[in-house]
Amino acid sequence: MVKASLFSRVWMNAVLVVLAILFLAPLVYILLNSFKPAGEIFQVPQSILPKEWTLENYLAATSKGFINYFRNSVVITVGGVFLTVLLSSLAGYGFAKLPFRGTNFVLLTIVATLTVPLVIFLVPMFLMENELGLLDTNLGLLLPNVAVSLPFAILIMRASFIAIPQEIEESATMDGAGVLRRWWTVMLPMARNGIVLVVIMTSYAIWGEYTMAKTLSMDPPAMPLSVGLTLLKGEVWQYGVLAAVIVLAMLPPIIVFIVFQKHIVSGVAQGAVKG
């Protein structure tokens, strides 16, 4: 786009600074509060910056209940992301390079599930997991999270495999490599960008997932962070500690975002442009 005039550039910068403050304020606010001693949090009038910086909230955050929430979130996210990447890169390759009669119908069915609200699945999921004894277990949250993440992941992986030129695969076929070996040694490394995008998107989705976790884990020790911490919303005396735990829970996704921002934005954008 052509450069705007000086006047309108000043004006646009001003608007963007205000917007940036509005978007960042909640995050900065919780970060600063997490360093305030208990007494200061309830002081009226407030000071935005802590008058006395303390780490006591972070030390208290290592208590057993919080560690449990963290462990559950890590297990569900790591396991869920691993399975999602494995299954979506198999299926994406199948859809992109090994079409069979009915491929399009299967793909459309999978894409159509993206418009169905999760709430429709909850009751049968609950009844099924109740039968199988999966309620209140990490596996019971990991498996449906993989299923819900798959449709989008398959679309990303399918697009990355389609982008790989046919000749590369053909030359591997000449060398006598079987289809599974071609997938593993030749195709998968070339679809690296797609895999990174799937890892990042799925991690965010599972780490922050609330609806299924709220339904399928009712016992606090089985809850991930996204649900477990909301149980403390009324317990005022815990606010400083809660702030510290919230900061710790928000940090991993934010760090990943800062490192991979370009990758994420262009990945989402590409998906959109293709649409």
């Binding site: 052509v2 978007f23 299954l87 069915t109 909850l122 999921m125 989705a205 909301t230 921002q261």
Partner: protein
Amino acid sequence: MALSSLPVADPTLKRSPEVPRPIRGGRRGKRNLPVGVLFILPAFLFIFVFMLYPLVSSGYMSLTEYNFVYDSTPKFIGLDNYFAAFQDSTFVTALTNTFVFGAFYFVIVMVSSLAIALLLFQKLRFNSFYRSAVFVPIVVPLSLAALVFLWILQPNYGLLNHFLGDVLGLHFLTQPWLSNGTTAMGSIIVLAAWASIGFVTILFLAGLQGISNDTLEAAEMDGARGLRKVFYIVLPSLRETYILTGTWTIIHALKVFVEPMVMTDGGPGTSTLVVYQQVYLTAFTYFDMGYASAMGYILGLIILVLVVLNFFIGKIRADKDA
């Protein structure tokens, strides 16, 4: 966040020329089972067990009376649950609230995202900082953001009242935000918009990047500048993007759940109770699985109708212009 539920309309879904003819792979191919099936099967099983089967099962259950605690098996009652829902004042309230939330959310998110995308599209010096600030809420777990907002809105020691009262001196504006139906709904809308605008902005930016430089330069030559250029050249070129962002925003508007669950519990009274929440409560507090399924299906059908409508309105407009 719900990044994974972005409905990507991928044009390559229609078989594109570069999709190869079926490859028969190794030994399995000789048994005539297409090897592609084996690659797709594991993922499909997951989707079948946790999404397709539940979709059908829930559809059947919506036609039955089935209390998980009292009834041993579902009893078929036809469409009674659906008729009952529209005579149930709580459900009608929840549906109305969902639409009120959805209308405000849709307009606010679409308009601000487009405006922010237009600003970020300019080559300004601190562009990458502005972008990070607007995009970062996308990756923050929504239920935790709701806890932070709860704290900001706290009447006695929350940030908002402190800022309005002590900093700006506007004491008459300070109030218990979540104790009043209107401001409680407003708070939920603000949180939802804060969490969503970044993502929709990325989609609009992608759309803007797709407008060809030739179009823009030709417009300049014809003397279109500044706002005139934006209104007559840029905005009409984004038709395809409106379909995409519109679809995403409609789905997310009607699926609102986390915000009222964490911030208001549907209150005060039922002033922020939404359909998703009412389905959840009916199923997992009252264990009335049949009725809950019917309400879930009603919501699903409404979403489907609006998404299809949005698609066709977008298409017709685009065709008219072409």
